[in-house]
Symmetry: C2
Subunit: 210 residues, 2 copies
Amino acid sequence: MKSEHIPKATIGRLAVYIQVLENLLRDGNDVISSEKLAQACSVNSSQIRKDLAYFGEFGVRGVGYYVQELITSIKQSLGIDRVWKCALIGVGNMGSALLRHHDFERRGFKICAAFDCDPDKIGLEFEGMEIVCPTHLREQAPELNLEIGIIATPPDRAQRAANHLVDANIRGIINFAPSRINVPKHIPVEYVDFFDHLYAIAFQITLGND
Amino acid sequence: MKSEHIPKATIGRLAVYIQVLENLLRDGNDVISSEKLAQACSVNSSQIRKDLAYFGEFGVRGVGYYVQELITSIKQSLGIDRVWKCALIGVGNMGSALLRHHDFERRGFKICAAFDCDPDKIGLEFEGMEIVCPTHLREQAPELNLEIGIIATPPDRAQRAANHLVDANIRGIINFAPSRINVPKHIPVEYVDFFDHLYAIAFQITLGND
DNA sequence: GCAGTCATGTGAATTTTTTAACAAGACAGA
DNA sequence: TCTGTCTTGTTAAAAAATTCACATGACTGC
Ligand SMILES: NC(=O)c1ccc[n+]([C@@H]2O[C@H](COP(=O)([O-])OP(=O)(O)OC[C@H]3O[C@@H](n4cnc5c(N)ncnc54)[C@H](O)[C@@H]3O)[C@@H](O)[C@H]2O)c1
Ligand SMILES: NC(=O)c1ccc[n+]([C@@H]2O[C@H](COP(=O)([O-])OP(=O)(O)OC[C@H]3O[C@@H](n4cnc5c(N)ncnc54)[C@H](O)[C@@H]3O)[C@@H](O)[C@H]2O)c1
């Protein structure tokens, strides 16, 4: 089918499929049907087939999908069959947890540089990386080939961090701070806020209740 | 209008509205129109009016919305106009960052108990809380009135943690571990995985490129 | 090599969500 | 009090996403 426009929701589900497929593979499953995968992901099986159809034909009729092959195909489709180099801005509580979290590298996102404006932090070594001032972003980004910026500053500093990233010609931004940022529209921004999920849980609990 | 079923996407957007409205309030804005708010949130203004209409009429025609009032109304609608008591399971890298993050309490989600099965961690004091074994969840949950469980264990331990939470009659679960869990269907589960967002960024960058 | 079973890929039908359009209400100024 | 300007709440239209349904291809066992 190989479609033009892909729903955002599809991308989110593909991430879930990968997660479940990797666990299936670890448990020794070589092949899986869309129906079984659907159950594991709590979605409709047509949904899975349609999501995959946006990118190509990865299954075998009458058989299902070869798990390893499907993982590879999905990763290719998403563009995560390579390493993306990332810059972290803000090495506080959250930033440190991210730096220590080695899943990033395993999953194809390597944090290659860490920036913080706190004079007490600049110069410190952290997880084999020296913390430097964000003003160096502009020179380091091309040198290190940094493509994605991860903002983990307080919310009122997020825009400033974003400006540094834009100046440094970064290609995409993840913002962990709970505030919106303005950047040129060719640069995609994703906002990460756990509270979305907490609100959703609170709401669902409250609903079932009234 | 006061509708029956509310789209999940609406809940996500309400979280964004709150975030933006709180920043607006801090900057001294008392009133805002759906059009202005829409721009700040990068959505359509009809969308905002429709989202709000699910819950009631909060605006004044010809004027707009009173910011503080609107925040209050949205919080009431979501059921976050009170404190939700949470249990954290897994006090590692991630769990510690969550415990240290005081926004939780400020935003109405108080982590009142921390559980970990590591004998080296049990008994330690952390942020004024003693880390205890998850087997105590069952007795502590009713005592402390714990309603929401936050899982921050490694992925292969998430199901076990979920079982403890279910046993303890917890009412909703947030899972930070990258694995799906099975729980009785009256208990809502939300999965938090940053990689969704990283994938989305990688995909968008790749798209613009080919 | 044929029959039976299974599961994909896809067009059509359905449902859901988003956007547009506008009538009705609120306020300010004269 | 009346007029003109705004902006909401809501209905109708459009667009998008999800689900259904089934023809098509693949593999198994006889
Ligand atoms: N810690 C969590 O669990 C958690 C959870 C959700 C969201 N967040 C969000 O993540 C962000 C960071 O949280 P945190 O707990 O790490 O805060 P933190 O205060 O511990 O760390 C913030 C860091 O950013 C640095 N910083 C400030 N301004 C900067 C600038 N202009 N350039 C570079 N660095 C700058 C500070 O020096 C500090 O080291 C916050 O916006 C917070 O709301 C954190
Ligand atoms: N650190 C991050 O930035 C980050 C980011 C995204 C996702 N995550 C996910 O969050 C989870 C935790 O990550 P982490 O970095 O904190 O790992 P971690 O290994 O530092 O911590 C895990 C903790 O869970 C405890 N634990 C293990 N089994 C348990 C059980 N059955 N009951 C109670 N406690 C148990 C361990 O003793 C340990 O303290 C992982 O699933 C990880 O993939 C972490």
